[in-house]
Amino acid sequence: MITAGVDVGSLSGKAVVLDDNRLVSWGLVPTGPDSAETAKEAMDIALQKGNLSLDRIEFVVSTGYGRVVVPFAQRNVTEISCHAKGANYFFPGARTILDMGGQDCKAIRCDANGKVVNFAMNDKCAAGAGRSMEVMADLLQIPLDEIGPRSLQLDQGEVAVSSTCTVFAKSEVLAHVRQGAPTNDILAGLCAALASRVYGLLRRVGIEPEFVISGGIGKNVGVVTRVEQKVGLEANICFEPQIVGAVGAAIFARDTLVKQKKPAAAR
Protein backbone atom coordinates (compact mmCIF):
# COMPACT_ATOMS: atom_id res chain seq x y z
CA MET A 1 0.00 0.00 0.00
CA ILE A 2 1.62 3.26 -1.13
CA THR A 3 0.67 6.48 0.63
CA ALA A 4 2.14 9.97 0.93
CA GLY A 5 2.35 12.79 3.44
CA VAL A 6 2.89 16.45 2.58
CA ASP A 7 3.91 19.03 5.19
CA VAL A 8 3.65 22.64 3.99
CA GLY A 9 5.40 24.71 6.62
CA SER A 10 6.06 28.44 6.68
CA LEU A 11 9.68 28.01 5.61
CA SER A 12 9.84 24.66 3.79
CA GLY A 13 7.63 22.10 2.10
CA LYS A 14 8.20 18.39 2.71
CA ALA A 15 6.75 15.31 1.02
CA VAL A 16 7.23 11.67 2.01
CA VAL A 17 6.27 8.45 0.23
CA LEU A 18 5.58 5.38 2.35
CA ASP A 19 5.10 1.79 1.18
CA ASP A 20 3.23 0.13 4.06
CA ASN A 21 5.78 0.87 6.76
CA ARG A 22 8.82 1.44 4.58
CA LEU A 23 10.07 4.97 3.93
CA VAL A 24 10.50 5.03 0.15
CA SER A 25 11.62 8.60 -0.54
CA TRP A 26 11.19 12.19 0.41
CA GLY A 27 11.47 15.71 -1.02
CA LEU A 28 12.29 19.00 0.67
CA VAL A 29 11.90 22.46 -0.90
CA PRO A 30 11.82 26.04 0.44
CA THR A 31 8.28 27.44 0.72
CA GLY A 32 7.41 29.75 -2.16
CA PRO A 33 4.66 32.36 -2.36
CA ASP A 34 2.12 29.72 -3.46
CA SER A 35 1.58 26.92 -0.91
CA ALA A 36 -0.11 24.60 -3.43
CA GLU A 37 2.86 24.98 -5.78
CA THR A 38 5.30 24.31 -2.92
CA ALA A 39 3.45 21.11 -2.04
CA LYS A 40 3.58 19.96 -5.66
CA GLU A 41 7.31 20.67 -5.96
CA ALA A 42 8.12 18.68 -2.83
CA MET A 43 5.85 15.84 -3.97
CA ASP A 44 7.44 15.75 -7.44
CA ILE A 45 10.91 15.36 -5.93
CA ALA A 46 9.74 12.54 -3.67
CA LEU A 47 7.99 10.79 -6.59
CA GLN A 48 11.03 11.16 -8.82
CA LYS A 49 13.37 9.72 -6.17
CA GLY A 50 11.00 6.80 -5.64
CA ASN A 51 10.51 6.25 -9.41
CA LEU A 52 6.76 6.70 -9.00
CA SER A 53 3.96 8.74 -10.49
CA LEU A 54 1.21 10.47 -8.50
CA ASP A 55 -1.45 7.98 -9.68
CA ARG A 56 0.41 5.19 -7.87
CA ILE A 57 -0.17 6.93 -4.52
CA GLU A 58 -3.36 5.56 -3.02
CA PHE A 59 -3.95 8.23 -0.40
CA VAL A 60 -2.35 11.60 0.45
CA VAL A 61 -2.61 13.45 3.77
CA SER A 62 -1.47 17.08 4.08
CA THR A 63 -0.34 18.88 7.21
CA GLY A 64 1.36 22.13 8.24
CA TYR A 65 0.33 25.77 7.89
CA GLY A 66 -0.66 25.36 4.25
CA ARG A 67 -2.39 22.01 4.67
CA VAL A 68 -5.82 23.11 3.46
CA VAL A 69 -4.62 24.24 0.03
CA VAL A 70 -2.88 21.02 -1.11
CA PRO A 71 -4.98 20.08 -4.17
CA PHE A 72 -3.90 16.42 -4.40
CA ALA A 73 -4.48 15.57 -0.71
CA GLN A 74 -7.59 13.64 0.28
CA ARG A 75 -7.42 14.61 3.95
CA ASN A 76 -5.65 17.14 6.17
CA VAL A 77 -4.41 16.52 9.70
CA THR A 78 -2.91 19.00 12.23
CA GLU A 79 0.88 19.24 12.64
CA ILE A 80 0.56 18.20 16.26
CA SER A 81 -0.95 14.79 15.46
CA CYS A 82 1.45 14.24 12.54
CA HIS A 83 4.53 15.07 14.58
CA ALA A 84 3.52 12.61 17.27
CA LYS A 85 2.94 9.86 14.69
CA GLY A 86 6.21 10.67 12.89
CA ALA A 87 8.26 10.69 16.10
CA ASN A 88 6.68 7.36 17.03
CA TYR A 89 7.78 5.99 13.63
CA PHE A 90 11.44 6.89 14.15
CA PHE A 91 11.52 6.23 17.91
CA PRO A 92 8.76 3.83 19.07
CA GLY A 93 9.61 4.66 22.68
CA ALA A 94 8.98 8.39 22.15
CA ARG A 95 6.63 9.89 24.75
CA THR A 96 7.70 13.54 24.89
CA ILE A 97 8.35 15.52 21.72
CA LEU A 98 9.72 18.99 21.21
CA ASP A 99 9.44 20.48 17.75
CA MET A 100 10.79 23.94 17.21
CA GLY A 101 11.10 25.79 13.94
CA GLY A 102 11.55 29.43 13.07
CA GLN A 103 7.90 30.31 13.56
CA ASP A 104 6.65 28.15 16.36
CA CYS A 105 7.35 25.72 19.15
CA LYS A 106 5.35 22.59 19.94
CA ALA A 107 5.50 20.41 23.03
CA ILE A 108 3.70 17.08 22.65
CA ARG A 109 3.23 14.05 24.89
CA CYS A 110 2.04 10.87 23.16
CA ASP A 111 1.29 7.23 23.95
CA ALA A 112 2.90 4.01 22.65
CA ASN A 113 0.86 4.26 19.44
CA GLY A 114 1.92 7.81 18.68
CA LYS A 115 -1.48 9.21 19.66
CA VAL A 116 -1.37 12.66 21.26
CA VAL A 117 -2.08 12.68 25.00
CA ASN A 118 -1.24 16.32 25.75
CA PHE A 119 0.02 19.21 23.67
CA ALA A 120 0.80 22.92 23.76
CA MET A 121 1.96 25.12 20.93
CA ASN A 122 3.30 28.66 20.84
CA ASP A 123 3.30 30.47 17.53
CA LYS A 124 2.37 33.93 18.77
CA CYS A 125 5.65 35.17 20.24
CA ALA A 126 9.03 35.23 18.47
CA ALA A 127 10.83 34.81 21.81
CA GLY A 128 9.43 31.29 22.09
CA ALA A 129 10.57 30.26 18.60
CA GLY A 130 13.79 29.82 16.65
CA ARG A 131 13.17 33.22 15.16
CA SER A 132 14.59 34.92 18.26
CA MET A 133 17.96 33.26 17.55
CA GLU A 134 17.94 34.52 13.96
CA VAL A 135 17.32 38.06 15.22
CA MET A 136 20.24 37.79 17.66
CA ALA A 137 22.55 36.25 15.05
CA ASP A 138 21.77 39.23 12.87
CA LEU A 139 22.28 41.70 15.70
CA LEU A 140 25.64 40.23 16.76
CA GLN A 141 26.73 39.51 13.17
CA ILE A 142 27.36 35.84 13.86
CA PRO A 143 26.39 32.97 11.54
CA LEU A 144 23.37 31.15 12.97
CA ASP A 145 25.13 27.77 13.05
CA GLU A 146 27.97 29.14 15.21
CA ILE A 147 25.70 30.24 18.06
CA GLY A 148 25.29 26.76 19.55
CA PRO A 149 28.97 25.72 19.69
CA ARG A 150 30.14 29.15 20.83
CA SER A 151 27.55 29.30 23.60
CA LEU A 152 29.21 26.25 25.13
CA GLN A 153 32.69 27.84 25.17
CA LEU A 154 32.29 30.26 28.02
CA ASP A 155 34.78 33.05 28.51
CA GLN A 156 34.03 34.40 31.99
CA GLY A 157 30.55 33.06 32.64
CA GLU A 158 27.03 33.19 31.31
CA VAL A 159 25.58 36.69 30.92
CA ALA A 160 21.92 36.53 31.92
CA VAL A 161 19.38 38.11 29.56
CA SER A 162 16.33 38.92 31.65
CA SER A 163 13.89 40.29 29.04
CA THR A 164 11.66 37.67 27.45
CA CYS A 165 10.51 39.84 24.55
CA THR A 166 13.02 39.65 21.68
CA VAL A 167 12.74 43.39 21.05
CA PHE A 168 13.58 44.29 24.64
CA ALA A 169 16.24 41.56 24.80
CA LYS A 170 17.94 43.18 21.80
CA SER A 171 18.49 46.42 23.75
CA GLU A 172 19.71 44.39 26.72
CA VAL A 173 22.21 42.50 24.55
CA LEU A 174 23.47 45.73 23.00
CA ALA A 175 24.01 47.17 26.48
CA HIS A 176 26.04 44.07 27.44
CA VAL A 177 28.12 44.45 24.27
CA ARG A 178 28.82 48.10 25.09
CA GLN A 179 29.93 47.10 28.57
CA GLY A 180 32.41 44.72 26.98
CA ALA A 181 30.80 41.37 27.82
CA PRO A 182 32.38 38.52 25.78
CA THR A 183 30.14 37.46 22.88
CA ASN A 184 30.23 33.77 23.81
CA ASP A 185 28.96 34.59 27.30
CA ILE A 186 26.05 36.58 25.86
CA LEU A 187 25.26 33.71 23.46
CA ALA A 188 25.22 31.37 26.45
CA GLY A 189 22.67 33.61 28.12
CA LEU A 190 20.51 33.70 25.00
CA CYS A 191 20.57 29.90 24.56
CA ALA A 192 19.77 29.43 28.24
CA ALA A 193 16.83 31.84 27.98
CA LEU A 194 15.37 30.02 24.97
CA ALA A 195 15.90 26.65 26.68
CA SER A 196 14.00 27.77 29.74
CA ARG A 197 11.12 29.05 27.64
CA VAL A 198 10.97 25.72 25.80
CA TYR A 199 11.13 23.91 29.12
CA GLY A 200 8.12 25.89 30.33
CA LEU A 201 6.09 24.59 27.40
CA LEU A 202 7.33 21.01 27.96
CA ARG A 203 6.41 21.16 31.64
CA ARG A 204 2.89 22.17 30.71
CA VAL A 205 2.39 18.90 28.80
CA GLY A 206 4.38 16.77 31.25
CA ILE A 207 7.72 15.05 30.66
CA GLU A 208 8.15 11.32 30.27
CA PRO A 209 10.99 9.30 28.63
CA GLU A 210 11.85 8.90 25.82
CA PHE A 211 12.45 12.46 24.67
CA VAL A 212 12.57 13.42 20.97
CA ILE A 213 13.57 16.74 19.39
CA SER A 214 12.66 17.69 15.83
CA GLY A 215 12.72 20.84 13.72
CA GLY A 216 15.45 23.36 13.08
CA ILE A 217 16.31 23.85 16.75
CA GLY A 218 17.80 20.34 16.75
CA LYS A 219 20.75 21.87 14.93
CA ASN A 220 21.55 24.31 17.76
CA VAL A 221 23.68 22.29 20.19
CA GLY A 222 23.65 25.18 22.67
CA VAL A 223 19.88 25.09 23.10
CA VAL A 224 19.61 21.26 22.84
CA THR A 225 22.24 20.72 25.57
CA ARG A 226 20.51 23.13 27.92
CA VAL A 227 17.04 21.70 27.25
CA GLU A 228 18.42 18.21 27.95
CA GLN A 229 19.87 19.42 31.24
CA LYS A 230 16.57 20.95 32.33
CA VAL A 231 14.48 17.99 31.20
CA GLY A 232 16.97 15.51 32.68
CA LEU A 233 16.79 13.29 29.59
CA GLU A 234 18.95 12.83 26.54
CA ALA A 235 17.20 13.80 23.31
CA ASN A 236 16.71 11.50 20.33
CA ILE A 237 17.12 13.33 17.04
CA CYS A 238 16.45 11.44 13.79
CA PHE A 239 18.64 11.68 10.67
CA GLU A 240 16.36 14.27 8.99
CA PRO A 241 14.38 16.07 11.72
CA GLN A 242 12.56 18.22 9.17
CA ILE A 243 10.53 15.37 7.63
CA VAL A 244 9.02 14.01 10.86
CA GLY A 245 5.68 15.77 10.27
CA ALA A 246 5.41 14.56 6.66
CA VAL A 247 6.19 10.97 7.74
CA GLY A 248 3.41 11.24 10.30
CA ALA A 249 1.04 12.49 7.60
CA ALA A 250 1.91 9.51 5.37
CA ILE A 251 1.13 7.16 8.28
CA PHE A 252 -2.21 8.92 8.83
CA ALA A 253 -2.85 8.36 5.10
CA ARG A 254 -2.13 4.65 5.45
CA ASP A 255 -4.29 4.28 8.58
CA THR A 256 -7.17 6.16 6.94
CA LEU A 257 -6.96 3.91 3.90
CA VAL A 258 -6.93 0.74 6.01
CA LYS A 259 -10.02 1.97 7.85
CA GLN A 260 -11.80 2.74 4.56
CA LYS A 261 -10.96 -0.64 3.07
CA LYS A 262 -12.15 -2.66 6.06
CA PRO A 263 -15.94 -2.24 5.63
CA ALA A 264 -15.58 -2.82 1.90
CA ALA A 265 -13.89 -6.17 2.47
CA ALA A 266 -16.58 -7.22 4.95
CA ARG A 267 -19.35 -6.57 2.45
Binding site: S81, N118, T164, G200, L201
Partner: protein, 90 residues
Amino acid sequence: MKANYGYADGSGEYFITIDTDVCDGCGECARVCPSSLFEVAPDDYDQVVARVKEKLTRSVGVLCPGYERCRDKVPDCHAVCRVGAISHSW
Protein backbone atom coordinates in the same frame (compact mmCIF):
# COMPACT_ATOMS: atom_id res chain seq x y z
CA MET B 1 -6.07 14.24 25.17
CA LYS B 2 -5.36 17.51 26.93
CA ALA B 3 -5.30 20.17 24.25
CA ASN B 4 -3.67 23.46 25.34
CA TYR B 5 -4.67 26.32 23.06
CA GLY B 6 -2.91 29.64 23.44
CA TYR B 7 0.58 30.97 23.95
CA ALA B 8 3.19 32.39 26.28
CA ASP B 9 4.81 35.78 25.69
CA GLY B 10 6.73 38.32 27.77
CA SER B 11 3.57 39.39 29.57
CA GLY B 12 2.49 35.93 30.72
CA GLU B 13 1.00 32.55 29.83
CA TYR B 14 -2.43 32.30 28.25
CA PHE B 15 -3.64 28.75 27.68
CA ILE B 16 -7.16 27.34 27.55
CA THR B 17 -7.06 23.59 28.14
CA ILE B 18 -9.74 21.25 26.83
CA ASP B 19 -9.74 17.68 28.07
CA THR B 20 -11.07 15.79 25.05
CA ASP B 21 -11.22 12.54 27.03
CA VAL B 22 -14.20 13.92 28.94
CA CYS B 23 -15.61 16.46 26.43
CA ASP B 24 -18.87 15.14 24.94
CA GLY B 25 -19.05 17.76 22.19
CA CYS B 26 -22.28 19.32 23.53
CA GLY B 27 -21.19 22.77 22.30
CA GLU B 28 -22.45 24.78 25.28
CA CYS B 29 -19.05 26.51 25.61
CA ALA B 30 -19.29 27.66 22.00
CA ARG B 31 -22.77 29.00 22.70
CA VAL B 32 -21.92 31.08 25.79
CA CYS B 33 -18.39 32.41 25.09
CA PRO B 34 -18.77 36.17 24.52
CA SER B 35 -15.72 36.11 22.24
CA SER B 36 -16.86 33.05 20.24
CA LEU B 37 -13.56 31.29 20.88
CA PHE B 38 -14.87 27.73 20.66
CA GLU B 39 -16.21 25.42 18.00
CA VAL B 40 -17.15 21.74 17.93
CA ALA B 41 -15.62 19.58 15.20
CA PRO B 42 -14.10 16.14 14.62
CA ASP B 43 -10.46 15.98 15.70
CA ASP B 44 -7.66 14.04 13.95
CA TYR B 45 -8.89 10.82 15.61
CA ASP B 46 -12.49 11.36 14.42
CA GLN B 47 -13.80 12.27 17.86
CA VAL B 48 -16.26 15.18 17.84
CA VAL B 49 -15.06 17.59 20.53
CA ALA B 50 -14.76 21.27 21.41
CA ARG B 51 -11.66 23.20 20.43
CA VAL B 52 -10.47 26.79 20.21
CA LYS B 53 -10.85 28.01 16.62
CA GLU B 54 -7.50 27.69 14.90
CA LYS B 55 -7.52 31.30 13.72
CA LEU B 56 -7.96 32.54 17.29
CA THR B 57 -5.32 30.54 19.20
CA ARG B 58 -2.79 33.36 18.82
CA SER B 59 -5.11 35.88 20.43
CA VAL B 60 -6.82 33.98 23.27
CA GLY B 61 -5.11 36.24 25.82
CA VAL B 62 -6.57 39.27 24.09
CA LEU B 63 -10.07 37.99 23.37
CA CYS B 64 -10.63 36.19 26.68
CA PRO B 65 -10.23 38.34 29.81
CA GLY B 66 -9.33 35.24 31.84
CA TYR B 67 -11.62 32.89 33.67
CA GLU B 68 -11.96 34.82 36.93
CA ARG B 69 -12.79 38.07 35.17
CA CYS B 70 -15.33 36.54 32.79
CA ARG B 71 -17.16 34.60 35.49
CA ASP B 72 -18.98 37.51 37.10
CA LYS B 73 -20.35 38.73 33.77
CA VAL B 74 -22.04 35.86 31.91
CA PRO B 75 -22.80 32.17 32.14
CA ASP B 76 -19.19 31.21 31.56
CA CYS B 77 -17.62 28.27 29.71
CA HIS B 78 -16.60 26.49 32.94
CA ALA B 79 -20.08 26.71 34.44
CA VAL B 80 -21.91 25.36 31.39
CA CYS B 81 -19.51 22.45 30.90
CA ARG B 82 -21.22 19.50 32.63
CA VAL B 83 -18.12 17.34 32.50
CA GLY B 84 -15.61 20.00 33.58
CA ALA B 85 -13.47 19.72 30.46
CA ILE B 86 -12.31 23.35 30.29
CA SER B 87 -9.65 25.13 32.31
CA HIS B 88 -7.72 28.40 32.00
CA SER B 89 -4.13 29.22 32.90
CA TRP B 90 -4.94 32.84 33.77
